[in-house]
């Protein structure tokens, strides 16, 4: 199989098949919702939708999102921009991707989803030289991206100070502000600290973590659990129509900051948390 075809297959599978852990979390959540409730019906519809999309190999959501590739730097030559662009072009032709890329200056559509900087490609340094090189793709739709937020502490309107309690308040405020508008239930990727740009980058990277994964920092692991629990007690529910399932997961990381800044950045991912990793 050529590298283009491998990347094409990665796009196809990411677009049409929800990750196992996300699907299982939705199933578990559905069982928890009350019988006959709208929440249960919505989660059931989402599961039916995922089964159908997988079977027919069609996009599981009509917004096939921004394509962001995380590529092991040892693959820099093999999985280069030309190869990724070619795969995106083919995926669009085959209907795995919708025409989803608009020129921001004149509003024209890039019908093949290829333009300067699209798809997005990040090359990362491998953790160990013995690991098998991988490519990960994440597809994030506009409805959920519009719900990502950045706070700057202290935030007097919230009464959130420069401590972990203030951080938690920002994150929960983001959940309340978002309601169901990012196609809840969602997954939060959070970065505490960093500058504005790395805040969003690191927050988004947390969305690559599996739902079962806990932070290695026990303080952050504790916070991930407590925010998930609190958020799900708010009663926002699937699509914001009430219920016990508002979030499926919370993943937090921290980065150092300069003394003058303290950002809390939240990347919101909808139920259609499409991510997939392949070895190449």
């Amino acid at each position: 199989m050529s590298t283009v075809d491998k990347i094409l297959a990665l796009i196809r599978d990411t677009s049409s098949s929800l990750p196992d852990d996300v699907e299982k979390a939705i199933l578990k959540a559905m069982r928890r919702e009350e019988k006959g409730s709208s929440a249960k019906m919505i989660l059931k519809t989402i599961l039916d939708n995922c089964a159908l999309a997988r079977e027919n190999v069609t996009p599981l959501c009509q917004d096939t999102g921004t394509l962001t590739f995380f590529v092991d730097s040892r693959l820099r030559k093999k999985v280069n921009r030309k190869v990724v662009s070619e795969a995106a072009r083919k995926a669009t032709e085959k209907g795995y991707l919708r025409k989803n890329c608009i020129d921001s200056v004149d509003g024209r559509s890039y019908d093949d989803n290829v333009a300067e900087g699209a798809p997005v490609i990040h090359y990362f340094e491998p953790e160990s030289p013995d690991s098998r090189p991988t490519v990960t793709l994440i597809m994030k739709g506009g409805g959920s991206e519009n719900m990502s937020r950045q706070y700057s502490l202290p935030d007097s309107s919230l009464g959130a100070g420069r401590d972990l309690k203030g951080v938690e308040k920002c994150i929960l405020d983001a959940v309340v502000k978002t309601q169901g508008y990012g196609c809840a239930p969602g997954i939060l990727g959070v970065c505490i600290g960093g500058d504005r740009a790395t805040g969003y980058e690191i927050a988004k990277e947390q969305l690559l973590r599996g739902l079962a994964d806990s932070s290695k920092d026990p303080r952050l692991a504790k916070m991930e659990k407590s925010i998930l629990k609190k958020a799900n007690s708010l009663g926002i529910g699937p699509m914001g129509l009430g219920g016990k399932t508002t979030l499926l997961g919370v993943k937090i990381a921290s980065r150092p900051r300069v003394p003058a800044s303290f950002f809390v950045t939240i990347a919101y991912m909808c139920w259609a948390g499409r991510r997939r990793t392949v070895e190449i």
């Binding site: 709208s38 019906m41 009509q62 919708r98």
Partner: protein
């Protein structure tokens, strides 16, 4: 789940309560920004909306073997139609508006006055909503508005949604927003 079949009579629509899960069968028509603007400007529409349903949707439809086939038909955000919807409800006699994210107080009031409801479709569930469209009856304004904004006439079976705004003046969006905010404040008191 409550089954609703076209034509949707006023009495059964008025008996629906915010929070009810529904399944819709019959014909529904799509209409978005251009459609609403055209109607508000006094344009003529040859579609009978009386006791019918309007779907805020920009579908992906392709022609296969001379027949229209729906590839994706998820709901689109409804707030953009707020300025037009009260008048549309009053003049067209529509009973069900399907979309995503809810609508404003003026629309809620028109729903109360004329007997209509807002149904939230499941956001992002493109595959199931496309599968519930059994046939495309036809399309209006295809050349004028383009495929994503045209007025498509879909025959649907078991199209699922939740009544989010009822004709009694209740909006589930408002109710959930205020109760969740209250709960949030309680964490810190």
């Amino acid at each position: 789940m409550i089954e609703l079949k076209y034509p949707f009579d006023e009495k059964s629509i008025r008996s629906l309560k915010a929070g009810d899960a529904v399944s819709i069968t019959g014909v529904i028509h799509t209409g978005r920004d251009k459609f609403h603007k055209y109607f508000a400007d006094g344009g003529r529409i040859n579609v009978d909306f009386k006791d019918g349903a309007l779907f805020h949707c920009g579908p992906v439809v392709v022609k296969r073997g001379g027949e229209w086939k729906v590839v994706a038909a998820g709901p689109t955000t409804s707030v953009r139609e707020n300025p037009y919807e009260p008048e549309f409800i009053a003049k067209s006699g529509v009973r069900i508006i399907i979309g995503k994210g809810g609508m404003d107080a003026a629309t809620l009031e028109a729903m109360r006055k004329y007997g209509a409801v807002y149904v939230q479709a499941v956001g992002g569930a493109a595959a199931v909503s496309a599968a519930s469209v059994k046939r495309v009856q036809g399309v209006d304004f295809l050349d004028e508005f383009g495929a994503a904004e045209a007025c498509w006439h879909f025959e649907v079976e078991g199209f699922r949604g939740v009544v989010a705004m009822d004709s009694g003046g209740t909006s589930l969006f408002d109710r959930v927003a205020s109760s969740s905010h209250k709960k949030f404040l309680e964490f810190y008191n």
